[in-house]
């Protein structure tokens, strides 16, 4: 038993969001196996460019499949059918996806608050970016507003609608630390680290099993393989036989 998942992601990544949802929902279950999880912000446009995975051309057929089939199915599957970036035009994702400020804010929260709060802020900012009404949290004013509005104990799912996670003083503290040079450098260092490990996209996970072996995993659709690698018990996807028809009662 035991192991660890280092989960690297950016707020502007839909598959990062889906993978994040899965891991967040399984935090307790993973803990029951002694598997710890740490979330790390990386700046995805930088990661893609530097790994040579920058898509400068669009394959129309792939775009069509993504928009009409793959993304709607995946979003439904993870329980966020309405997820869309602020400004639904995928071509503008480049602009609204310049998420350095909220990623640095996450690093600031990690420094100033507990891990539990930090994980909740990830969840809250992902929701703010992706679910209606989408907030353009790459910009300071919407980001401040999102942090200000965040309910206390957001991830617990129990909200009294009154209590807020952060006081306005705490929000100031987060934003001001986010803007410091050392925080900018930390985000760059995270991205460098992910690149060094072979990352080319998000979500990127470095997983260590109980034998101390570390392997990379990419995407929101490899959790069965991850559980296999970690030696956890799981039931695989399995097609079943059709249900037997009910036998008709015999008449004597």
């Amino acid at each position: 038993m035991g192991g660890h998942i280092d989960f690297y992601t950016d707020l502007n990544s839909i598959y990062g969001y889906l993978g994040f949802i899965h891991v967040l929902e399984h935090l307790e279950a993973l803990r029951s196996y002694g598997v710890g999880v740490d979330f790390h912000p990386v700046y995805l446009p930088d990661l893609q460019q530097r790994s040579g995975n920058r898509v400068i051309w669009t394959v129309k057929a792939r775009q069509h499949w993504l928009e009409n089939y793959e993304l709607p199915r995946s979003k439904r599957d993870f329980g966020v059918p309405e997820a869309n970036p602020p400004d639904s035009d995928l071509n503008n994702l480049f602009r609204v996806g310049q998420t350095q400020l909220p990623l640095r804010a996450l690093l600031a929260v990690r420094k100033l608050h507990s891990v539990r709060v930090y994980n909740s802020v990830w969840h809250w900012l992902y929701r703010s970016f992706w679910t209606p009404p989408q907030q353009c949290i790459k910009d300071e004013a919407p980001l401040r507003e999102a942090l200000q509005d965040m309910p206390l104990d957001f991830s617990s799912g129990v909200h009294d609608n009154e209590s807020r996670q952060f006081s306005s003083g705490e929000v100031d503290g987060i934003i001001s630390l986010a803007k410091e040079q050392k925080t900018k450098e930390q985000l760059r260092k995270n991205t460098d680290e992910a690149l060094r490990q072979g990352a080319f996209g998000a979500p990127w996970m470095m997983v260590r099993n109980s034998a101390g072996v570390v392997e990379p995993f990419f995407g929101s659709d490899r959790f069965a393989q991850m559980y296999e690698f970690l030696g956890l018990s799981y039931s695989p996807l399995k097609l079943l036989p059709p249900p037997k028809p009910k036998p008709t009662p015999s008449h004597l």
Binding site: Y33, Q225, L239
Partner: protein, 243 residues
């Protein structure tokens, strides 16, 4: 219940191999659910050219990562000794073997087609005998054991799937105009159905509605679309050790 799964596969496409094996392993259950399966030999080179797509492994970091992903995909199926046969760009020129598979599908029974496809995948990815030229293809076709199965040890009997005459017939088929035309038509059909890679999976439900699926890792979406009963992938609590 009911419906049809059409898979466009090329031997040079690793995840086509994975999909092929997945279909073999779920064959019985699909049949019980009254789902028809139809495998179409296709050219991944043709699909890439027609869609403007490029193989993902041209990005170095993706090529590096594919070693992990491909090993795990094979492991999940119990498939062993599967590795890239040298330069994949070169090995991807599968015009000759895919024409052969097109011909075999039209001229031989379904189980012969399936056995031949299985062996060609095996030859490419495990034996590293890439059957892209007529002479090498001829050798490979002549070798196929009559009852070749991917997950079974080699059969003791030396009976072969094809007689020498049949091998000659198939090789002649690879240069026949109607076979070339049929393969090109399949590539065009796949492109028309939105393909930009392989495996390309075209699924039609019992009401006649069709949707595309891509890759060997979206079967739960296929099952949802067809309304088939399935068990979801689920993390379980730690199992108590038996005393």
């Amino acid at each position: 219940m009911g419906g049809k799964i059409e898979c466009y596969l090329d031997i040079a496409s690793y995840y086509s191999y994975i999909t092929f094996v997945q279909l073999q392993q779920t064959k019985e259950l699909l049949k019980q659910n009254e789902v028809e399966v139809d495998i179409h030999p296709v050219l991944i080179g043709g699909i890439n050219a027609g869609s403007g797509n490029r193989p993902p492994w041209l990005v170095p970091a993706k090529a590096k990562h594919s070693k992990y992903d491909s090993k795990r995909a094979a492991g999940a199926l119990g498939l062993k000794n599967v590795t890239v046969p040298g330069d994949l760009m070169e090995a991807g020129k599968t015009l000759v073997p895919m024409r052969a598979m097109t011909y075999i599908k039209s001229a031989f029974p379904g189980d012969v087609f399936t056995t031949a496809f299985a062996y060609l995948f095996h030859s490419f990815w495990t034996l590293h005998k890439v059957p892209n030229s007529v002479p090498v293809l001829g050798e490979v076709l002549s070798e196929i054991p009559a009852h070749f199965q991917l997950d079974a040890p080699p059969p003791p009997s030396p009976a072969k799937l094809f007689t020498p005459e049949q091998v000659a017939q198939i090789l002649a088929g690879t240069s026949a105009a109607e076979v070339k035309g049929a393969l090109k038509a399949r590539v065009d059909e796949a492109l028309g159905r939105g393909a930009f890679g392989a495996p390309w999976i075209w699924v039609t439900d019992a009401q006649g509605c069709s949707e595309p699926f891509f890759g060997s890792d979206r079967w739960h979406f296929v099952y949802d679309f067809l309304g088939l009963p399935y068990q979801q992938m689920r993390l379980l609590p730690p199992q108590k050790a038996r005393l």
